[in-house]
């Protein structure tokens, strides 16, 4: 009886020893830097607005961050909620802040603003356009005269 029990225990021990590398291999998969994952999530939002891929990356980042502790977990969670609710701009800011970044690093979309410089530029452009059109009209008339000759 003892001999049988010993055999079973030995077999279990052997099985476990063989299985250990498998378990340890699982742990090795956690090697991607949280900050990289978060930046990838931002890139998916900014690039092709692929919310699903961004959420996957962010979920992965949240999971990895439990070990790596490189990002602010609260902000990551808030960013995930914002992503799910498709508040993309807010999600990007939260993600970037979570990894210690500054929102000024995000996509820069300059917009037209009514100001002195812009008005001067538009006036100059309008003058150029008018001169160009007048000149074109003049040369066309001349061309017509030549054709009639």
């Amino acid at each position: 009886m003892h001999k049988r029990l010993f055999s079973i225990l030995f077999a279990l021990l052997l099985l476990l020893s063989v299985a250990i590398p498998v378990f340890s291999h699982g742990a090795e998969e956690e090697a991607v830097d949280v900050r990289v994952l978060v930046r990838q999530a931002i890139a998916y939002v900014e690039g092709i607005a692929d919310i699903e891929m961004a959420e996957n990356k962010l979920n992965e980042a949240i999971e990895q961050n439990e070990d790596q502790k490189l990002a602010d977990p609260t902000k990551l969670q808030e960013a995930l909620i914002a992503l799910e609710e498709e508040r993309l701009e807010e999600a990007n800011i939260l993600m970037l802040e979570a990894i210690g970044g500054n929102p000024s690093e995000l996509e820069l979309n300059p917009e037209f603003q009514i100001g002195v410089i812009n008005i001067i530029l538009l006036v100059i452009a309008a003058i150029l356009l008018a001169v160009g059109l007048i000149l074109l009209n003049k040369t066309k008339t001349k061309r017509g005269e030549m054709n009639n000759e």
Binding site: G47, D72, L108, F112, L121, G132, K138, R143
Partner: protein, 577 residues
């Protein structure tokens, strides 16, 4: 005024330009090339200005453009001029090429000028492509990665060009291409192109036109061109003011999350369907087909009626271009060039695991690598590097004890695979070391095929490789400090938040105690780099830690301390980066 006119006429005689040209030369269709030229001039002027504010390094490129856009009054406008002029140039060069194709203007005796035109078209596309890379955002990075992957497939000079020198990045190479090599090529070919236009005359219309059948002069044509030039400049300026171009976030590696600019959308569809090789083959076919056009269509008549076959091919090509472009806008990009980090990770782990098994079988002497820290939380890079170290020790042993050059060469090939799997990671930390290590391993790998190998030299190389791998290991061990500092940064941010939002001093104090532990663990390393910073950081954290027991804590002071600690930790991170 008339005196000035006659004075000027004497000094700038225009009679030489007053030669006859056909009347149709003044139509928009025959002025498209001229508009491209005007756009080039705008591009050159705006490009020279932009270059004064641009830093062609991966670390600073994106940021330098941001500074130009946000801190200079005309920054957005100049960048907008450059961007919109590029759009006009690419559109007009395509339309110009199509006009010549459909009008049969490439026919005898203009075949050579057509070839020059095709080179100019490719030069313009090249300038557009290299320009998109310089902005160094995600789209730019992915474009560069595609080019590098394509060059790898093509091989030869193309592959060699994309090998980064430790001191010269690909970005700086592309900056040079964009600002010197390609413009010089375009200007030189353009000069010959224009001389040939003058020598051969403006091509005739392929059909009868009552409206444009007369004669004109080149001076009238120049005035016409000037008028179009002014209109082009005006339109570009309006667009640059109203719609300044955006700039994406600095790039991150490992993903394909963008689509290319519109001009490349059609080949992007082909890449989505057939992969990078499909893209290369299509581009090659297109270029060869363009070059061969005048030699395929050799009929004398330029009339589309008499060239139905080739015109039909052209129409189909244009329709496919449009259809593929539209398709790309509605398609999710595939992972074309295996930039996926998971894939890289898996490849790397497979190699490491395979070598694990081999190493166990080979029973190598591990005593020599005891100086390497085998921590339980070893990163994949460290594991691969330790594996590489084992292999190099084994190579050395094979050379010393058995003198078996062939076996040593085989092991070097394995070593090459292991190091290649983490090549990018090493390069990111020390490009020079990556290059040197690659060179030595490559030389060791050649032992397999060497006819009369030098054993002593090979042994020296193995020792050198061992030293380089140990250096690389140190690079990744250093990241432990960075890891701790980043953890510290997260903690201090958390403390600040607790103080600001909850005002919970006890909890903040507890977190500060945790922070103290984290910093203490790497205190010596910080001190070795900056004693003052270590001391100041210790003092601030100590003060924050006292919040736990303070009876009447000062919230403002605590918050200031947290901010100060954050700044110090960021300074410490910079030391280790």
């Amino acid at each position: 005024m008339s005196r000035f006119k006659s004075w000027l006429k004497e000094r700038v005689p225009t009679a030489g330009f007053d030669y006859q040209v056909p009347s149709h030369a003044n139509t928009l269709a025959f002025t498209l090339g001229g508009i491209t030229l005007i756009s080039f001039i705008i591009l050159m002027i705006s490009g020279i200005i932009l270059a004064q504010f641009y830093s062609p390094t991966p670390e600073n490129a994106n940021q330098s453009i941001r500074i130009l856009m946000t801190e200079n009054n005309l920054g957005n406008f100049i960048r907008g001029l450059h961007y919109w002029a590029a759009q006009v140039a690419i559109v007009t060069v395509i339309l110009h090429l199509l006009r010549i194709f459909f009008y049969g203007s490439y026919k005898r005796p203009r075949e050579v000028n057509w070839l020059l035109g095709v080179i100019l078209f490719l030069g313009t596309v090249g300038l557009y492509y290299t320009g998109t890379i310089l902005k160094w955002d995600q789209e730019a990075y992915e474009a560069l990665e595609h080019a590098a992957a394509g060059a790898k497939i093509v091989g030869g000079f193309a592959a060699d060009y994309f090998v980064e020198n430790p001191a010269v990045t690909l970005l700086s190479k592309f900056f040079s291409l964009h600002t010197s090599l390609l413009p010089i090529l375009v200007i030189a070919v353009l000069a010959v192109h224009l001389i040939l236009v003058k020598a051969l005359g403006i091509s005739p219309l392929p059909f009868k036109s009552k409206k444009n059948s007369g004669k004109s002069t080149f001076l009238v044509h120049l005035k016409h061109l000037l008028a179009y030039g002014l209109i082009t400049l005006a339109v570009i300026s309006i667009f640059a003011t109203l719609f300044p171009p955006s700039l994406g976030t600095a790039p991150v590696e490992g993903i394909e999350a963008t689509k290319p600019p519109w001009i490349f959308m059609s080949i992007f569809t082909i890449e989505n369907w057939f992969g990078l090789i499909g893209l290369i083959i299509t581009a090659l076919i297109l270029v060869v087909a363009l070059l061969l056009v005048p030699f395929i269509d050799r009929k004398d008549s330029a009339s589309p009626q008499d060239r139905k076959g080739i015109v039909a091919v052209g129409v189909i090509a244009v329709l496919l271009f449009v259809a593929f472009t539209v398709n790309a806008y509605f398609t999710k990009p595939e992972q074309h060039i295996e930039m996926g980090d998971e894939e890289q990770q898996q490849d790397m782990e497979e190699i490491v695991d395979n070598n694990d098994e081999q190493t166990d079988e080979d029973q190598i002497d591990n005593d020599q690598i005891d100086d390497v820290d085998q921590s339980t939380e070893e990163s994949v890079e460290l594991k691969a590097l330790n594996q590489a170290l084992s292999l190099v020790v084994e190579i050395d042993k094979i050379l010393d004890e058995k003198g078996d050059i062939k076996l040593a060469g085989e092991k070097a090939a394995e070593l090459d695979e292991v190091v290649d799997a983490i090549g990018d990671q090493i390069k990111a930390k020390d490009a020079k070391l990556r290059q040197e290590l690659g060179d030595i391993i490559h030389e060791l790998g050649e032992l397999q095929e060497a006819e009369s190998p030098d054993l002593a030299k090979a042994s020296d190389e193995a020792h050198e490789a061992e030293e380089k791998i140990k250096e690389a290991i140190k690079l990744f061990e250093e990241s432990a400090e960075l890891k701790a500092l980043n953890q510290a940064l997260s903690l201090v941010v958390e403390i600040d938040k607790i103080l600001d939002e909850k005002g919970d001093f006890k909890l903040a104090g507890e977190k500060a105690a945790e922070l103290d532990e984290v910093i203490d663990a790497i205190g010596d390393q910080i001190e070795a780099k900056d004693t003052k910073l270590r001391q100041e950081l210790g003092e601030i954290i100590h003060e924050l830690g006292e919040l736990q027991e303070a009876k009447n804590p000062d919230l403002e002071k605590a918050s200031n301390d947290a901010h100060e600690a954050e700044e110090k930790i960021k300074a410490a991170i910079k030391l280790f980066e």
